[in-house]
Symmetry: C2
């Protein structure tokens, strides 16, 4: 095996070891953990802002926010009432289990119902790194085009839920919802697609229900089912 | 030095060696080479389609197109009259100099005025890999939000030109052109920003002039100035 591939394998094995420990810790605390991945600007932060505003009175939530630089998204989340641990990755193109372990140590997991992990804006690299999460969410947005599931199959294939954001821009962007759905079905026929707009609020209820279901499932069976 | 960092350094040194050879080959052929980087769906392919349609009678152009999977963008470029070499990277999150060397071997560089390299849709990893290009172009788009230069500083800092696409969506997305310009100026006060819309054609002339200037400069001084 070439040296580069051997080392990449070692890095992934080490990540898997830490992710398995994280998953145990999350199960112990009974906290539902969702890892959000997307292109830059698809709307992960907007989705979490709306979630915090709408579910804040009902569920105890917090976030780990990964960003190359700045605390802009973390500040937005905190302003929306979501306690947030910021991880600045420097040049790093994804969050890894070590960073989430360190960030989670600053949160009282036992006092939480939900922990959102907002990954670095990148539709490629985050897919390769298990963070101990119960569920993976890919946030896609209509201005990116309806063929993204075809062009970035790995991250969509690894998802448990696809949020299609910016539905209010479908017409001005010429986005075909049918084509998008067909590409997703081609990869994973059973994958849930939630069409919504964080700007208008349209469709958000289905997303909030998806979060509530996650919380209920983890209360019943705290471990990872996958 | 930890083993991982040492190996990453080796990979980058090997890439730099191949990129330097590519730069020599491009200078020898007198072909102007621009490396286009962006988030998924920002409009790299649309920009090259329009460029091919509008400059095809005037300049001899070709493209190397990097994509994780599918030949969708390459097919679009060929349909727009641009001879295109496709590089499918599998899981790879950026193009490297080895891939461009192999792709360029299938093109008659001496018969070209311009070679566009359309990188993988990713605002992080492509910035680290020199491809022997004369110029780097970052394509950003209004729906991604006006703070992308702040949040992805490395790729913007490495650019010679920023194309701000989807200007027709400024109002519906609430994008602040002033804020975007201020973030770019904060990183690199001299960086050219070309505001345009591939959909409406607004602002494309300034981009075509930028390409023409690149061709003229390489005819005068074929090597890399930076």
């Amino acid at each position: 095996m070439p040296k580069k591939i051997r080392l990449e394998k070692q890095v992934l094995l080490e990540n898997d070891r830490l992710a398995a420990r994280l998953a145990e810790r999350f199960a112990e605390a009974g906290v539902f953990v969702a890892n959000l991945m997307s292109s830059p600007g698809a709307g992960k932060t907007s989705l979490l802002e709306e979630t915090s505003r709408r579910l804040g009175g009902e569920l105890r939530m917090a976030a780990v926010n990964g960003d190359l630089a700045t605390d802009r998204d973390a500040a937005r989340l905190r302003k929306a009432g979501l306690p947030t641990e910021l991880v600045n990755t420097g040049g790093g193109c994804h969050l890894n289990a070590r960073q989430v372990t360190d960030a989670a140590a600053n949160l009282d997991l036992d006092a939480l119902d939900v922990l959102f992990i907002e990954n670095v804006g990148n539709l490629v690299c985050p897919a390769g790194f298990d963070l101990g999460e119960h569920r993976r969410v890919v946030v896609s947005s209509t201005p990116e085009g309806d063929d993204k599931p075809a062009k970035y199959p790995v991250v969509f294939h690894s998802a448990d839920c696809v949020v299609l954001n910016k539905m209010d821009l479908v017409e001005v962007t010429g986005f075909s919802t049918e084509a998008f759905r067909a590409w997703v079905r081609g990869l994973r026929p059973d994958l849930v697609i939630l069409e919504l707009s964080c700007r208008t609020g349209e469709g958000l209820d289905a997303w909030l229900d998806w979060v509530r279901r996650g919380v209920a499932e983890v209360r019943e069976r705290p471990g990872r089912s996958k």
